[in-house]
Each structure stands twice: as structure tokens, then as C-alpha cells.
């Protein structure tokens, strides 16, 4: 009788712990996903300023700059929700990343632009922006993996239904070009 009671209490306590653990991980995952949005928004806001900063000296590279602006506007417009959201967002953002890196390569070809000193700042801002997005995705993927693993592992999987836990998607690279090994320029440290 007593043994049964103790077993029940222990099982109940464990269930509470496992349930709360899952809920906490679930919310962390949602939060990490929103963090990616925050960083993407920051990039969208930053791009017009960046383009303005180099516009004067790069007047005859209009096509490159316009490609950046266009990709940016495209990315801002994506307002999907649901399971397709992640795919659409990442496609638009990858296009923007491509346009930005092309712009950076073009900037390298203008020594007078480099000489003004602004360009160091520009490069720093750009690489920081890209890093922020990459790290936000990394955090999301790490948290989501932890969440997915937890809800599928044996004892916790028993309460997964109770906590309405379901596996979430990880953020993947859609663009085949981004999968390729990047070209590294060793001239700049």
C-alpha cells in the first residue's frame, strides 16, 4: 500500500518535471526563431544606409546596387506564415545575401572607395550583420534539436503528447550555391 503510494508520488513528480522541461524548451525554440526575425529585420533596415554610403563613388555600378535594393525589397515583402514560411523566408534572404556579397566584391575593386576609410566600417557592418543572422540561426537550430531530441527520447516521450510537443523543422540552407565551399580571400585579415 505504502510502496504503491510512494511510487505514484514519485511518478507524478517526475511527470511534472518532464512536462515543464518540455514546455520550457518549446518556448525557448519559439523565442530563438523570433530572434532570427529580429536580426533579419535589422539587416533590412541597414541596407538602404549601406547603399547610400557607397552610391556616390560607385555610380557606374548601378546594376549591382539595384540588385541589392531589389533583393532587399523582395525579402521585406515575404510575410508568409505556416509551414511554408521558413522556406520562403530563407529563399528570399539567401538571394539578399548573394546580392550583398556581390556588392562587397565590387567595392573591393574601387581603391578610391577603400581610401576614404568608410569602407572598412562598411565591411565590418556587413560581416557583423551576416554573422548575427548566422548565429541566430545556429541558436535556433541548437535549441530546436534539443527540443526534438528531448521529446523523442524514451521516458520523456510519454508526456510529449500531454505537452503538445511536436518536432520542429531546422533552418536549412536552401540555396545550392551557399552549400558550396566559399572562396576565401586571404589578402585581408
Amino acid at each position: 500500500m505504502w510502496v504503491l503510494l510512494v511510487v505514484l508520488v514519485v511518478a507524478g513528480l517526475w511527470m511534472i518535471g518532464a512536462y515543464n522541461g518540455l514546455i520550457s524548451l518549446k518556448n525557448q525554440t519559439v523565442n530563438a526563431f523570433k530572434q532570427i526575425d529580429v536580426q533579419l529585420k535589422r539587416r533590412h533596415d541597414l541596407i538602404p544606409n549601406l547603399v547610400n554610403a557607397v552610391k556616390g563613388a560607385m555610380d557606374f555600378e548601378r546594376s549591382t546596387l539595384e540588385a541589392v535594393i531589389q533583393a532587399r525589397n523582395q525579402a521585406v515583402k515575404v510575410n508568409a506564415s505556416g509551414p511554408e514560411a521558413m522556406k520562403q523566408i530563407s529563399q528570399a534572404e539567401n538571394a539578399l545575401s548573394g546580392a550583398l556579397s556581390r556588392m562587397l566584391v565590387t567595392v573591393e575593386r574601387y581603391p578610391q572607395l577603400k581610401a576614404t576609410g568608410n569602407i572598412g566600417q562598411l565591411q565590418e557592418e556587413l560581416s557583423s550583420t551576416e554573422n548575427r543572422i548566422a548565429f541566430a540561426r545556429q541558436l535556433y537550430n541548437d535549441t530546436a534539436t534539443q527540443y526534438n531530441t528531448k521529446q523523442q527520447q524514451f521516458p520523456t516521450t510519454l508526456v510529449a503528447g500531454l505537452a503538445h510537443a511536436s518536432p520542429t523543422d531546422l533552418w536549412e540552407i536552401e540555396d545550392q550555391a551557399e552549400r558550396a565551399v566559399p572562396q576565401v580571400d586571404l589578402s585581408r585579415r
Partner: protein, 322 residues
Amino acid sequence: MIGFVLFFAWLGFGADIIWALEGQHPFPWLGIAVTGLAIILARYIYKTGPEKVLWATGAQELVTPQTDSERQFANVVDEMAIAAGVARPRTWIIPDDDPNAFATGHDPSDSHVAVTRGLLRLCTRDELQAVIAHELGHVKNLDVRLMTTLAALVGAILLVREGVGRMMRAGSFPVRGGGGGGGAGRGKSKNAGPLLAILLALWVISWLVAPLVSQLLTLAVSRRREYLADAMSAQFTRNPLALASALEKIETAAAPTAAIKRGCAHLCIVDPLGHRLTNREGWLADRFATHPPMSMRISRLKGMGYAQLKKEGGSFTSSALA
């Protein structure tokens, strides 16, 4: 923290018990007073610890970055805060040419990261990132609270012991206070002879070894946590080799960091005192160094780096190892 208060309670009430066994002693006011003092002291230390540490190193807060390297530092801190999933720490710069860095604060939502100018000048962006990630690893593990508080507590224990020792020598602390008691008190004292002796010995020993033990504790905790923070840095940046090369650079430049005093040594990424102890292994170094041997840290990080390269199927190239 609780241990600190309990320790003081033991010292205070222990004195009361000894006193009571010696003769009549109506009320344990000494124990209450000492415990109360310890609680107030602990609370004060906890509240002002990070400020004290930053003030002691002469760090200046970086609010609006002016130069390129300051801007890079601010950006890197932003990035690593995102990677670690913590609130952005406040950034401080120490005007010192020797490369070093430390973190302090109470919890992940209220933390500070400080680096020296030397570090900003010496490290590449990737290396700076790895160093900041190491510090944020400390923040995320709540090491900062523990280490900052420990730093202050060790100091407080030393201070209090000194003060009480002076009082004892001056004779105002009645260790043998039962002289004026009646026959009853004397009889009690005789009965409690062995117990009294043991208690008294224990009590005196605790006074004597307290600072040493607390210091050793700090060190033991600190060394394990350095390895952990190194691993967290690798997790955040996915680039353990960057931290390895940063540590190598800092190590070769290791002159003592003048701005960082002894009490804060265990907060830093490398031992700022330029102790050769950090470079050795063995029993003595294992117990008394604030940081694990640099060669061990670097080789562990390189091990992580190679494992990562192997997993990704990349081939070893000289650029990856450099």
C-alpha cells in the same frame, strides 16, 4: 553564499558554546551578532561585487564606439550574445597593453564583459569572437556570479579574521571567562572537559584554515570552469581553433597585466599575474593555479577542432591549422 553565512554562524555560536561550557552564559548574543554581520556583509558584497571588480581594474565603459577596433568589439559582443542566447552584456575597455579579458555580473541579464586594449590590437576578428564567446560561456554558466562573489568573500574572511585576531590579542575577548562563576559553573566545566577541548580545537582550526580553504575552493572551481567555458566558446563560434590561436597569442605576449590585481585573477581568460605555475602540471600547480595549464587548454581545443574537421569531411590544410 549560504556556506559563508553558515561558516560565520559556526564561528559565532561555536564561541558561545565554548563560553557556555566554561561558565554561565545566558544568551548567545555573540553568535547572533556574528551571523548578522555575515549576512549584511554577504549581501553588500553580492550587490556591489561587479562594480568593485570593474573599478579595481580601471575599466571604462564603451557606450558609443569611436574607432574601428571599438566598433568591431561592440559588434562581436552583439553577435556572441545572440549565439549564446543571453542579453547583451555591457562592454568595458581596460586601458592596458597586455591582452586579457574577463566577465563579471550577477546573472545573464545583468553582466559585464571587459577586455584590454592590448587584446583588441592583437587579435583578429575570429580570435576576438572566440575570446568573447569564452567570457559569455562564463556568463551563461552563472560562473560570473560565483566567481565575483567568491573573490569578494575570500577578501572578507581575511579581513574579519584579522580584526578578531587583534581583539583577542588585546584581551577584550574573554576566552577563559568562567573565573568569577560559582561552584556550579566550575563543576559543569569539569564535566565538559574533553568536549570543551575538542570544540575549542575545532574552532581555532576553523579560524586558522578558513582563508586557505576558501582560496583553494576558489581555485578548484575556477580551473574546472575554464575548461567548460572553453568548450562553450567552441559551441558558440563553431570554431575552436580560433580560441586556440587566441590563447597562443595571449600566452606569448604574457607579461603581467598591470591593471588587474590579485583578487580578480581567477575572473580573467588567462592568468593576469604571469604566474609560471599556470604552465606546469602536477600536484602543486593543480592546487594553487587559478587557471589550468595553457598547453592543456590549447590541446583540448585543437582536439575539438580536428574532430570537427573530420566530421565535416574536410581535409587537413595548412590554413585550417594556422
